[in-house]
C-alpha cells in the first residue's frame, strides 16, 4: 500500500448549517493522508454525508475552509475539483452505454479517442466488466452497475475518490464481495478514498481509519481495530459492535485501574478511559465476547449469573443472562468447542478482565443501539 503521511485533504474549522438555526457539522477538523482509505461512519443525520458533499463541492461550508493538496477549494466549482465520486444510487447516465458513461469524463477533458479507448479498456477490465461495453445501464444487474460507477469515478485518474454509501443498495453477499474488490482497487491504485457509510461492518473491513460521526462531531477517529477494541466514549462503544453497559460511581482510582460501585453495591474493577475522578458517574462498556465463563482465579471481576435465554447462531451461541440485576446482559460463546451446555434458568459464574471493562462517559440506562 502506498500511503504517505502527506496531508492531502484538510478540513479546517468547518461549520455547516442548512437553515441558519442548527449546525449539521460543528467545528470539523480533519486531515486525510494521501493514499488513505478514510471512512466517515455514523447514523443518519450525523453530518457525514454533508461533510462528503462539502468536499465534493455540492455544498458550501458555512464557515471554515477545506484544503485539497494544500489549496483552498471552497471557491472552486465541483467540475473543476477533479474529484471522482461514486453516488449512492450509482447515478449512471441511463441513456448512455457503459462505454459512453466511462467516456464522459474523458471527453470533457479533451483526451484523444485512442487514449480514451485505452483508459476505458483498462478501467473496465479492472472492474471485470469486459464485454459489457455496449450495454445500457438498465441491462446490468445492481452489482454490475456498481462496478461501472466505480470505474467511471476512477477512469479519469483522480487522486481523490469519494464514495457515498455505494454498496447500500446491494444484497448482503454481493456487498461483501464488493467490499473486498473496492479494497483491492484502492490498494492497487493508491488513490485517496473518502467513504461514507452507516454500516460499521463495511467500515471496519475496508478502512485505514474511521471517523465516527454523531451529532455533527467526530466522536473518534482511529484505525478499525483501535475503534473496536478501545472506544473512547460511550457513543462509539455502543455504535461499533455490541456491548453491555454497566452504570456506576467511581469509588477508587489510579491511572491504570479504577473501582466502580454499581447501583446494587457491587464493586467492579475497570479501565478508566475518560474520567478517573472519585465520585464521577460512569457507564462501563463490556464486549459480549470478552466475558469469560468459569474464569480463572486471577480475573478480578467474578459474578454469578442466571441464564435467561439461549440463542443459537450457528458459529456462536448468544446467552442473555441476568447479571448484577440487569437481565439484558449479552454474552457470546463460540461454538467451536462445545464444552458447555446451557440451559435456561441455570446459574453460571462469569468474569472479565478489568482492562476489557472500559469506564466511559455516563449515559444512563440507554439501551444498546
Amino acid at each position: 500500500m502506498k500511503q504517505s503521511s502527506n496531508i492531502f485533504v484538510r478540513f479546517e474549522k468547518i461549520d455547516k448549517s442548512y437553515d441558519g438555526r442548527e449546525l449539521v457539522v460543528k467545528n470539523l477538523n480533519l486531515d486525510i493522508a494521501e493514499g488513505e482509505f478514510l471512512t466517515l461512519l455514523g447514523p443518519s443525520g450525523s453530518g457525514k454525508t454533508t461533510t462528503l458533499m462539502m468536499l465534493a463541492g455540492f455544498e458550501n461550508p458555512t464557515s471554515g475552509e477545506i484544503y485539497l493538496d494544500k489549496k483552498p477549494i471552497s471557491s472552486i466549482t465541483p467540475h473543476k475539483r477533479g474529484i471522482g465520486m461514486v453516488f449512492q444510487n450509482y447515478a449512471l447516465f441511463p441513456h448512455m452505454t457503459v462505454y459512453e458513461n466511462l467516456a464522459f469524463p474523458l471527453k470533457v477533458r479533451k483526451i484523444s479517442n485512442d487514449e480514451i479507448e485505452n483508459k476505458i479498456n483498462k478501467a473496465i477490465s479492472m472492474v471485470s466488466l469486459t464485454g459489457f461495453e455496449n450495454r445500457m445501464p438498465s441491462q446490468l444487474s445492481g452489482g454490475q452497475q456498481q462496478r461501472v460507477a466505480v470505474a467511471r469515478a476512477l477512469v479519469f485518474e483522480p487522486k481523490l475518490v469519494l464514495m457515498d454509501e455505494p454498496l447500500g443498495a446491494l444484497d448482503k453477499n454481493l456487498r461483501e464481495s464488493m467490499q473486498y474488490e473496492l479494497k483491492h482497487i484502492h490498494e492497487t491504485l493508491g488513490v485517496t478514498v473518502v467513504y461514507v457509510t452507516h454500516d460499521q461492518g463495511e467500515a471496519l473491513t475496508m478502512s485505514n481509519r474511521i471517523a465516527v460521526f454523531n451529532d455533527g462531531f467526530i466522536q473518534q477517529l482511529s484505525s478499525p481495530n483501535e475503534l473496536y477494541e478501545r472506544p473512547t466514549n460511550s457513543f462509539v462503544a455502543r455504535f461499533i459492535g455490541e456491548n453491555n453497559i454497566i452504570n456506576g460511581i467511581i469509588v477508587e482510582s489510579d491511572s491504570k485501574q479504577c473501582k466502580v460501585k454499581t447501583d446494587n453495591d457491587e464493586i467492579i474493577h475497570a479501565n478508566p478511559v475518560i474520567s478517573n475522578n472519585v465520585g464521577d458517574t460512569t457507564s462501563m462498556s463490556l464486549r459480549p465476547e470478552r466475558i469469560l465463563i468459569n474464569p480463572s482465579a486471577e480475573i478480578p471481576n467474578k459474578f454469578k449469573a442466571k441464564i435467561e435465554e439461549v440463542i443459537y447462531h450457528g458459529d456462536h451461541t448468544r446467552l442473555r443472562v441476568n447479571l448484577l440485576d440487569q437481565n439484558d446482559f449479552i454474552l457470546k460463546v463460540p461454538n467451536a468447542s462445545n464444552i458447555f451446555s446451557f440451559e435456561n434458568g441455570s446459574e453460571v459464574l462469569l468474569g472479565w478482565d478489568s482492562q476489557d471493562c472500559r469506564a466511559l462517559d455516563f449515559i444512563g440506562n440507554k439501551k444498546n443501539s
Binding site: 467540475h79 444510487n89 447516465f93 441511463p94 441513456h95
Partner: protein, 413 residues
C-alpha cells in the same frame, strides 16, 4: 405430447379458457359503454366526415340524365342539342319537386354565377317549347352559350370526387380532368395552411421555451412549493377558455392595459399605440398562454423522474454545468419534449376560438375557415375535406414521431 388434464379430467387448456372467458367477458362489459360511446361519438363521425368529403352524389342524383350525357361529352366544343334537351328535362323535373334551389346552390360552388343563372332560368322553364332547346336556353340567357358553364357542370358531375381536397389547397380540375392551379385571386387556402402550420410551430416553440424552465423548477422545488406552483400552472385550466381569451383582449387592445403601461412609461407615444391584437401577434400570445400547461405537464412528469444525482455526477466527472445539461439532462427530457410538442402542435393546428376572437383577418387559421364552411357557406363537403386533411396531418405527425423517437417513449403525465 399428451394433453395435460386437470384433476377432474378435463383438458387443462379448456378449463383455463373457460375460467378466463368469464373474466374477459366481465372486463369487456365494463369497457362496453365507453366503446359504444367512442363508436357513436368518434369513429362514426370521422367516417362520416371522410365520406362526405368525397361524396358528390347530390348533383348527379338531381340531374341524373345530364350527368350521363355530360360524361360522354368531350368538353372542348359546345354541347349538342341532345345535352341541352336532357338538361332541360332533368332541371324541369327537379323544379317540379322543388329541388332546383339545391341545383343552383351546388352548381354555384362549381362556378360563380350559376346560382343566378339557374334561378332566372327555372322561372321560364314552363314556357319552353319541345324543340331547339339549345337556342331557347341561349335566348333566355346568353351565359348558356358560354362553354365554361358547361365545362364546370361536367367537372361537378362525378358521383365521387376529390375536388374538395384540391379546392382546399387551391387546386381544381379542368373539364378534361387535369389538375390546375386556381386563378390567383381565388387562392386563399394555401396561405391559411401555411399560416396554420407556422403559428402552430411557433406556438409550440414558444411553449417549449417557456415551459422548460418552469417544469425544471417544478421538478426540483420542495413539494410544498412545487404543489403551489403546479396549481398556478394549472389555474388557467380551471378558467373558461372564453374568459381567458377575452382577458387577453382586454390586455392587448389598443386602449388596453399593456398599451396604457407602455404609453405611461413613454416607451411608445400615445398616437402610435401598438397593434397587439386582431393580427398574428394576438393569436400567438393568446395561444401560447392557453396551450402552455399542455407543455409543462409532460415535461414535468419526465423531469421528476430524472434523479438530481445525475447532474451532480456530470459535474463531479468534470462537465461544466452547460455541458452536463446538454449531454445528460436535456437528452433525458426528450420524451417530455416530444410528448409536449406533439400535444401542443396538434391542439394548435386545430385551434379555433382564440384565433377567431383575437386573430382578426391576418390571424385566422384553417380551423376558422372550416367553421366558415360549416356555418356560413354551408359547403360541408369542403369543411369535411379540410377536416380530413387536418386529421391526416396529425396522423403524419404521429408517424414521424414514432419514426424518430418511438411512440412508446411518449409520456403525458
Amino acid at each position: 405430447m399428451s394433453k395435460i388434464l386437470t384433476t377432474e379430467g378435463l383438458p387443462l387448456e379448456k378449463s383455463l379458457k373457460r375460467v378466463e372467458q368469464k373474466n374477459k367477458f366481465r372486463a369487456f362489459l365494463l369497457v362496453l359503454p365507453l366503446l359504444l360511446f367512442l363508436i357513436v361519438a368518434y369513429v362514426w363521425p370521422i367516417l362520416n366526415l371522410l365520406t362526405r368529403s368525397v361524396d358528390n352524389r347530390l348533383i348527379s342524383d338531381l340531374l341524373p340524365q345530364t350527368a350521363i350525357a355530360l360524361s360522354n361529352w368531350e368538353g372542348n366544343e359546345m354541347p349538342s342539342e341532345d345535352i341541352y334537351k336532357t338538361f332541360y328535362l332533368d332541371l324541369n323535373e327537379a323544379h317540379k319537386q322543388k329541388l332546383s334551389g339545391k341545383v343552383s346552390t351546388r352548381l354555384n360552388y362549381a362556378k360563380n354565377g350559376f346560382k343566378s343563372l339557374i334561378n332566372k332560368t327555372r322561372r321560364k322553364l314552363k314556357n319552353f317549347e319541345d324543340e331547339n332547346y339549345k337556342d331557347q336556353f341561349i335566348d333566355l340567357n346568353k351565359k348558356w352559350g358560354d362553354i365554361e358553364y358547361w365545362q364546370a357542370m361536367k367537372v361537378a358531375m362525378p358521383k365521387y370526387t376529390i375536388d374538395k381536397y384540391l379546392g382546399s389547397v387551391d387546386l381544381e380540375k379542368n373539364y378534361s380532368g387535369e389538375i390546375i392551379q386556381k386563378p390567383e385571386k381565388r387562392r386563399i387556402h394555401r396561405t391559411l395552411w401555411y399560416r396554420t402550420f407556422y403559428v402552430a410551430l411557433g406556438v409550440t416553440i414558444c411553449c417549449l421555451l417557456l415551459a422548460y424552465p418552469i417544469a425544471h423548477l417544478l421538478s426540483t422545488l420542495p413539494l410544498r412549493y412545487s404543489n403551489l406552483l403546479l396549481i398556478c400552472v394549472l389555474l388557467p385550466f380551471w378558467t373558461s377558455l372564453l374568459v381567458r381569451t377575452s382577458s387577453w383582449m382586454i390586455l392587448l387592445q389598443q386602449q388596453g392595459v399593456l398599451n396604457d403601461i407602455l404609453v405611461y412609461f413613454k416607451i411608445v407615444g400615445d398616437k402610435s399605440r401598438l397593434e397587439l391584437m386582431y393580427n398574428m401577434t394576438g393569436t400567438f400570445v393568446a395561444m401560447t398562454q392557453i396551450l402552455l400547461p399542455f407543455m409543462v405537464l409532460p415535461l414535468y412528469s419526465v423531469m421528476k423522474t430524472i434523479p438530481p444525482s445525475l447532474m451532480r455526477a456530470g459535474s463531479s466527472l468534470g462537465g461544466t454545468p452547460f455541458h452536463s445539461f446538454r449531454k445528460i439532462y436535456f437528452p433525458l427530457t426528450y420524451p417530455g419534449i416530444g410528448a409536449g410538442s406533439l400535444l401542443v402542435f396538434i391542439l394548435a393546428i386545430g385551434y379555433y376560438i382564440t384565433p377567431a376572437l383575437v386573430g382578426g383577418a391576418s390571424g385566422t387559421l384553417i380551423s376558422n375557415r372550416i367553421a366558415y364552411h360549416m356555418k356560413e357557406s354551408l359547403d360541408w363537403s369542403m369543411a369535411s375535406a379540410m377536416g380530413a386533411m387536418l386529421l391526416v396531418s396529425v396522423l403524419v405527425l404521429y408517424w414521424l414521431y414514432n419514426k424518430i423517437l418511438g411512440i412508446d417513449n411518449i409520456k403525458l403525465g
